[in-house]
């Protein structure tokens, strides 16, 4: 019962934040709404027993990524309203409405008929038993079964950091004068 209440409260926060991200005229408001969504998802992770992931969600997303977004928004000075009324492709809005109605109908069908229609059997979610903690299990899996993927991920992060630095830095003076 409690986890249902937690789920619906966090889901409301998630959806309100998500709608705020796409509807806010001001990019700063969008970034702050994104924080709401990410916190809601962290609560969902706690609810599902993924405690380490919840901490990572808050630290990495809300703490680092959103700050990076805000930094770029402030740096570019693009915190002015954008024009949403202009329709670049004619007829896409009626088509989008039709697709949206179909999607909502599908979701409503799933919500009403739920259990049998989606997976064919009753779903259940149980918390992890009181064995080794979530972090122990996660670390063990990460450094045994998934150690190759883990190392590849570190290479990916290095490449991303180097790429971002190379792209974002200004060309040195002598290169500019040589061109």
């Amino acid at each position: 019962m409690v986890d249902k209440i937690v789920f619906f409260a966090a889901a409301a926060a998630c959806l309100a934040g998500a709608v705020g991200v796409i509807w806010s005229k001001n990019p700063v408001h969008s970034a702050l709404s994104l924080v709401g969504t990410l916190f809601g998802i962290a609560i969902h992770f706690v609810n599902l027993g993924a405690h380490f992931l919840a901490a990572v969600q808050v630290v990495v997303y809300a703490g680092a990524i959103v700050v990076l977004f805000l930094f770029v928004i402030m740096l570019l000075g693009v915190d002015k309203a954008e024009q949403l009324e202009v329709d670049p492709l004619g007829g896409q809005r009626p088509a989008a409405a039709v697709v949206a109605i179909a999607g909502v109908a599908l979701l409503a069908l799933l919500a009403v008929r739920g259990v049998q229609v989606t997976t064919g059997e009753s779903s259940k979610i149980a918390a992890l038993d009181s064995g080794p903690s979530n972090i122990v299990l996660l670390g063990r899996a990460l450094f045994t079964d998934y150690v190759f993927a883990f190392e590849v991920t570190s290479v990916l992060l290095v490449i991303a950091v180097v790429g971002a630095v190379v792209m974002a830095r200004r060309a040195p003076k002598d290169e500019v004068s040589a061109q």
């Binding site: 990019p27 969008s30 977004f69 570019l76 991303a160 971002a164």
Partner: protein, 102 residues
């Protein structure tokens, strides 16, 4: 706790993110919508993992961890690209970045 609610929440978040990617013209907001999409995938991964017992739960969480890492890398590179576009074109309006339009 039921699984379907989590999957429905993930689906709705995914749809909101796709709408944001398609409808917004600000490059930074498009990247934020991509974050919404990646987060909805994370909800799905963790929820599905919980359905399959302890081992599957850890597998799902490891996958979600990798998705978070890739999202961080994507944001770093994406924002650097936005910064470059702004430096060269003095705009982040994606409709005006049509240099490669045929």
């Amino acid at each position: 706790m039921l699984l379907n609610q989590f999957l429905l929440l993930g689906a709705v978040l995914f749809c909101i993110g796709v709408y944001g990617v398609l409808a917004r013209k600000n490059g930074v907001l498009v990247l934020m919508s991509i974050e919404l999409i990646l987060n909805s995938v994370n909800i799905n991964l963790v929820a599905f993992g919980m359905m399959g017992g302890d081992a599957a739960a850890i597998t799902g969480q490891v996958f979600a961890l990798f998705v978070i890492t890739v999202a961080a890398a994507e944001v770093g590179v994406g924002l650097a690209i936005v910064l470059l576009i702004y430096r060269n074109r003095t705009t982040v309006d994606l409709d005006e970045v049509d240099l490669m339009k045929g």
